[in-house]
Amino acid sequence: MLLELLQRLLGKDDAVQSKNVARERLRLVLVQDRCSIAPHIMESLKEDLIKVISNYMEIDETGLEVTFSDEDNSLALMANIPILKMKRTYGES
């Protein structure tokens, strides 16, 4: 009891250091901020994705959706790509 009181008076233990809270919140918010990439970069990302995937399967290019998703404190690139047909061999047209 007394020690706890003294600790509270004299300083905090590391677990409740508010700078760690600040750092973690900042890290997360910056991941999101930095992900708002320019539309033309998003477009070229989509084009590149289509190029690569088209080697393996026929896809519906108009239905392609690419978004960022942040869940559980982590960030992911989500691509929703409707497949029309699988290709038998690599690069078949």
């Binding site: 300083g11 700078k19 600040a22």
Partner: protein
């Protein structure tokens, strides 16, 4: 050929104007010729921080509109012969100046002066775009707070996109005591997050309020810790290698008590 440096931050109230005033004065004290330019049109403040508010006749918009010559609008400092202020307009719109005009203005100034230090308005809109248009170097000011560091990150991205490579960071108003107790982000935390070069660290100093009251930049105050930090940063700007000042914690009664009972 002089160097044009813009002082920016994104967030307001982190000390852009104070930093501009002190670095400009610091450079003038080192013997360089300096123009301090206030681009915060509508909210001019650099004049009062420098104590030159009573001498304004023409402003930056008068120059870009051709109402006066550049030399007529430059206000000579009362302390240093080589230091001048180009004040912002107080009653005009931010759109009264265009980025092209700023480029031309900066090019004219760099022909004649060693340094042009630009005080950028808060925000990332037209005023910001104008302020950075003619600069080749940028100083980003932040404080050790989440909101200020976040805005600094955004501004660093915009500066780099505008072709101003490798902006340098000043961490302002750091409080050694709070850093020590883990209640304020320290220098390494911020540099790690922003991934930029550190130009300097300015401790929180109540003498800044006093010097602003008087219109005398703290960089001229021998006894001011913040002033000392600004003197060091000014020297770094000229290419001198000056080590970062260590954060100093006043040994308070609590610390002595803690030592006495053997904690930490």
């Amino acid at each position: 050929m002089g160097e044009v440096i813009v002082v920016t931050s994104g967030k307001g109230g982190v000390g852009k104007t104070t930093t501009t005033a002190n670095l400009g004065t610091g450079l003038a004290k080192l013997g360089y010729s300096v123009v301090l330019m206030d681009t915060d049109i509508g909210l001019r403040n650099l004049d009062v921080v420098l104590g030159l508010e009573n001498r304004i006749v023409y402003d930056i918009v008068d120059v870009t509109n051709g109402h006066c010559r550049l030399k007529q609008a430059l206000i000579k400092d009362k302390r240093f012969d080589g230091m001048f202020l180009l004040p912002a307009a107080q009653t005009k719109e931010k759109t009264a100046v265009t980025p092209d005009q700023m480029v031309e203005l900066c090019n004219n100034l760099r022909q004649e002066y060693d340094y042009v230090v630009i005080d950028c308005p808060a925000g990332i809109e037209q005023g910001f775009k104008n302020a950075i248009a003619g600069a080749e170097k940028a100083i980003v000011v932040t404080t050790p707070e989440v909101a200020a560091v976040r805005d600094a990150d955004r501004v660093i991205g915009l500066l780099e996109a505008a072709g101003i490579k490798e902006p340098q960071l000043i961490i302002n108003r750091i409080r050694a005591e709070m850093v020590k107790h883990g209640d304020m982000m320290d220098i390494d935390d911020i540099i790690d997050i922003l991934a930029v070069e550190l130009l300097g660290v300015v401790p929180e100093d109540s003498l800044i309020v006093v010097s602003t009251n008087k219109g005398e930049p703290a960089v001229l105050e021998a006894g001011s810790k913040a002033g000392e930090a600004y003197r060091n940063i000014s020297r770094r700007l000229t290419g001198e290698n000056v080590p970062i000042m260590p954060l100093e914690v006043n040994e308070g009664i609590m610390k002595r008590l803690r030592k006495l009972i053997g904690m930490k």
